[in-house]
Amino acid sequence: MPPMLFDKFKTMAAFQAELAARQVAPFGAVTEELFSATEGVVQGRRVILAGSNNYLGLSWDPRCIQAARDAAARWGTGTTGSRMANGSFAEHRALEREMAAFYGLDHGIVFSTGYAATMGMCATLAGPGEVILLDADSHASIYDGVRLSGAEIMRFRHSDPDDLARRMRRLGERAGQALIIAEGIYSMLGDVAPLQEIAAIKREYGACLLVDEAHSLGALGATGRGAAQAAGVEDDVDFTVGTFSKSLGAIGGYCVSPHAELEAIRYCIRAYIFTASSSPSVIASTRQALRIIQQEPQLRDTLWDNAQRLYGGLRQLGLPVGPAASPVVAVEMTDQINTINCWQALLERGVYVNLVVPPASPSSNFLLRNSVSAAHSSAQIDDIIAAYAGLVEAGLLQPAKAG
């Protein structure tokens, strides 16, 4: 038999078949009903949602829901077109101004998804003959973007400023043209990039710096702008990208910048041009959520209280959860089948978390990835910890060996 087009999918098909045989469906588990930002029915079971990235719980805020309703009534359900053609409504422009103003900047672009924002910016800013240095553990949207850019792509070791500095030195005079890419909070393990050190290297060589704040917007910084604000290096960031689908509870992405050139760059981004713009209802709820995170900084405090509570609880159980508390708390595992069994057991004990397998996880490890919300009650966090404790007692999770 000659090789067939679909042969390369056999491994994935076998993995999916194995999951089906075990009657577990961790990927694309169907949410059948929601009762709040933190509770719902997933695959027939009533669960606490501990893998939703709904960091501030705003997807269920009545003010955001009302804003979406009003916008749908006023503008209809969709724009039916690209931002470049008929798809730029007053709502989109208003959100761009408000997002830039939130960062104290003049220029902003709104995209239809966070993936489109990050991928589009990474594909467009540097091109053939130029160099991109990206963190080795960058999100797929960054990898996909830089691959399309045509630029020379070099990875530096994850959150390792010394390795970045070595690579900048090796570039010689090309370093001044380089684009450095890092994230704020890394999405899988919840660790925060050393942005002070990275910004210092950027300054030393006169390079450009793009920071993806997808998981840190609304979670870090004095006013919730993200990790660069928390590190005090916002002036060194040339382009901030992020998403509306986490702390802002909707869907969409953005880029803000101090550079006036962003207005010209906008018309060169294929991920901006060749896709329909967000529905007005989505933009309207995002605008409302952005107002809320500015008016209610206490949401951030609650998020971190919950993060500390979950992190502390899982750590006390002896589980390998990483060096510091974060809105993302991941339990690192080494055995795939064991991780899948734990995921299923958590679901059966009323807790939905994310199951992460390589290459989505940054190493060969498997993750039970929890994300915390300001909308979780302390009792819910304790229930999540109790579910893990139940797994330890049942011998499914072995703290000593789990690392």
Partner: protein, 93 residues
């Protein structure tokens, strides 16, 4: 270890293709679990069975040793040890 140190110092002058090959053979030893007899036509993934994570780790070792950065862009064109040796030589002026 003295030999390794000497070799590191001399690495910038090392221009002979065979020297690059020999370095790669040695660096690949920890990954060569089936103890294949390595040659320039041995494929890194198809023959030795490097995973994508191991490929990146191996590339980092080469980068550290020669004090170069290897762009990800070259990877689709590199299958064999010989192809990698030629690329590393190109990048190490």
């Amino acid at each position: 270890m003295a030999g390794l140190e000497q070799q590191r110092k001399g690495s910038k002058q090392m221009t002979d293709y065979q020297d690059y090959l020999d370095f790669l053979y040695r660096a690949l030893e920890p990954y060569n679990k089936q103890a294949l007899a390595l040659s320039e036509s041995t494929e890194l993934v198809a023959d030795i069975g490097l995973s994508s994570l191991e490929v990146m780790e191996f590339i980092e070792k080469i980068e550290d040793h020669f004090d170069i950065s290897i762009p990800l862009n070259i990877l689709p064109d590199v299958n064999t040890i010989g192809e990698l040796a030629r690329k590393v030589r190109e990048l190490n002026p």
